[in-house]
Symmetry: C2
Subunit: 428 residues, 2 copies
């Protein structure tokens, strides 16, 4: 084999960066792959836009590219569930290796696609699906293979992290989001980012890899950043915490794995607390390697192209050498997921209460009833409306107890409303 | 092949952790490798010490293990130049793949050993040689393969970083070193750490990988941390800098690569400035991926064993599949090293001067003569001995100019002594 012919599905931001790199750094890539990499065909939505490809290489029919007889390797960068899933399935079924950045399809259909790839003896690689240009998938799969991973905590949605970084400086969510959209860090419809859907898709992929837990995103507890108030970030800072949208997975004592995406206060001295703006980072603890962190740009055309092309080089190198694809590893028995109700966390509550005697006694009685210890309290003098704000940081308690306490706190005669309940993560 | 038989050279801290892991997590490792991993033989210095191996597996003759007919894979953990180099050479010549954590041998003899390995069609892997348990070698080789690396800055000596972290709190070097020795972060003879020899060995390995520059440690500019005063760290902090022993490599405009190990002031907001204690971190900038950082434990038995075993799993997996070893990649034309005299850096000077009129005019004249711009100045009122201390932060100038200016400053009639000259790194 003298040339590996690439079929590109989707020439958006990432696809454009991949196409340009294949042309502009042909020497670097071909040396790394040990074979010439040729962009053979590409599927686009709009044939009239300017592209770094000749007109005759382009088509609006992605299935024609995915199954073309003159394509050795399919790169899927359309994103979203369909038709991307069908295209990858068709390419794999046709015996073509697939490189993808598609977290949605992998989160929901990854195991099925991996099975199909194994049946057909071809590769399915997805370094770009989580953490953009940060090497993650390969390090977790290979470099930490000797470890039992005990904990993974990650900032894997750049939009939310950018928004929360601005909110930490006092901006409202709406203002911060507008800035993120101006800066190109948030899409016109930021729903999947703000609601934690994107982070949950990525966590699902990481949880399978790192903990060998079978799951779909539907099984992960997920809460986004809507409804957060810059006040919460300010209160947290007073007590030494930074608010992040975290993707968290941890192996419990019985072997069950907790996996959740939600805003969380993190001690300011934790390495993840210092990841600002649109950056991503994954903090992993292995039982041999100890804590390891990977950080960098989690999105953007060039950064994501870096990861896509690393996979392309790996696949092309193997194709050029004629090596068969290694059979999938035996990952051992699958770990069960721990139901969220049993997950134990520390918690932050912010309440608006009437400024009357006995309020605090009522609140602490509710917490005591549910065996929730109180770690620290902030109470401010009431504002003009006569409502006082009470902030509580609790010790660790199961989600079921915290949720029940929240409901009871809301029912107290002196409570005007429970303004916020946010989980608190420990350093270790 | 049902079993891969491992020959272990050296059962010290790391070797012991590797041996124990091979026994205790046989399931995890064998699943990852797709084949049973068996610790067949080990070479030790002292047969009487307790080991996690049976007596008949042990010998004091490492060459017998390196070339044993019942060993499929040699793990070299003796460290130091000889006999480790000779043992690895013998193992490779006998057609046995070698996994090593030996930065010294790789820094000085890596290319020759790699050539021998390629000739014999076996692997030579060294993930553990730099950064302990942090995945580095594989990510640089594979995951960032599509990038042209433009800059690499690293904290790769945990001893020095531990010492400097304590010195930032006001301790003297001697006190901090004693604490490092107590805590097990520094060896009884810490010369190679303090003088930057260990860091230069590691940088040499990284520079070849990331920049394809042919070099030996002798060609890298190297300066250790001896002679640093906690005063320097305090002055730096006043202006927003943290002092680290950095390993730095950067591709210059003409393609030449600067590579150097020395103490350097780093802006406090740089991610590397926050790497404290015995931790390691490598900050890499690629032209596609942008800045990426890897951090974690750079030393210790278990963390280093994690990296050694990742390599063992990779090699065993290939042996089990019967795949041939891929030929070495064509890395393209080798990059030349930029002579240190031409390397341009910002600089910090601390001078003891007589408290007499005209001192500052003399100093600034010297800097102006060498076209060195002055960025900021700290001057304190003189102490009891009548000597004033002047601290200067300059703009970037070539090393040749900075060295000449230092010599002239020392000769000024008003200068008692040049107490320190330390390079200053920029955020970008």
């Amino acid at each position: 084999m003298k040339t590996v012919r690439i079929g590109l599905l989707g020439v958006g931001t990432v696809g454009h960066a991949v196409a340009r790199a294949l042309l502009e750094r042909h020497d670097v890539l071909s040396r790394a792959a040990g074979v010439s990499l040729h962009l053979q065909r590409a599927a686009v939505r709009d044939l009239t836009r300017p592209r770094p490809l000749a007109r005759e290489q382009l088509t609006t029919d992605p299935m024609a590219v995915a199954t073309a007889s003159d394509v050795d390797l399919v790169v899927e960068l359309i994103g979203g569930e369909e038709p991307a899933r069908a295209l990858m399935t068709a390419a794999l079924a046709a015996g073509k290796p697939v490189v993808t950045a598609n977290k949605r399809v992998l989160a929901w259909h990854g195991p099925q696609l991996a099975k199909l790839a194994a049946q057909r003896g071809v590769e399915l690689r997805c370094e770009a699906a989580v953490g953009g240009g940060i090497p993650l998938i390969a390090p977790l799969t290979d470099d930490l293979a000797a470890n039992r991973i005990t904990e993974l905590r990650a900032i894997i949605n750049g939009t939310c992290n950018y928004v929360l970084t601005r909110m930490a400086q006092g901006e409202t969510l709406a203002d911060a989001l507008a800035k993120a959209q101006e800066a190109g860090y948030a899409e016109a419809d930021p729903k999947d980012d703000l609601e934690g859907v994107d982070a949950a898709d990525k966590l699902c992929i990481l949880v399978r890899l790192a903990f060998n837990a079978a799951c779909t995103p539907a099984q992960l507890h997920r809460q986004g950043i809507r409804g957060l108030d810059p006040k919460d970030l300010a209160y947290g800072r007073e007590l030494g915490y930074v608010l992040k949208l975290l993707a968290i997975a941890r192996r419990g004592p019985g072997g069950a794995v907790e996996a959740r995406v939600h805003p969380a206060f993190l001690p300011a001295d934790h390495p993840l607390a210092r990841i600002d703006g649109a950056q991503n980072a994954v903090h992993v603890v292995g039982d041999l390697c100890g804590p390891v962190m990977f950080s960098g740009l989690g999105a953007g055309g060039d950064a994501t192209a870096s990861a896509v092309l690393a996979d392309v080089v790996q696949v092309a190198r193997r194709l050029a050498l004629g090596d068969p694809v290694a059979p999938p590893r035996d990952s051992g028995p699958e770990a069960p997921l721990l139901p969220m109700s049993q997950v134990s966390t520390r918690c932050y509550f912010r309440l608006a209460v009437d400024d009357v005697p006995g309020v605090f006694a009522q609140i602490t009685k509710v917490l005591a009833t549910h065996e929730i210890g109180l770690a620290s309290v902030i109470q401010r003098e009431p504002g003009k409306l006569g409502a006082a704000e009470v902030v509580l940081f609790t010790y660790a308690a199961p989600e079921s107890a915290l949720a029940a306490a929240e409901a009871e706190l809301a029912q107290l005669s002196s409570t005007r409303s429970v303004l916020a309940r946010i989980r608190v993560e420990s350093s270790k």
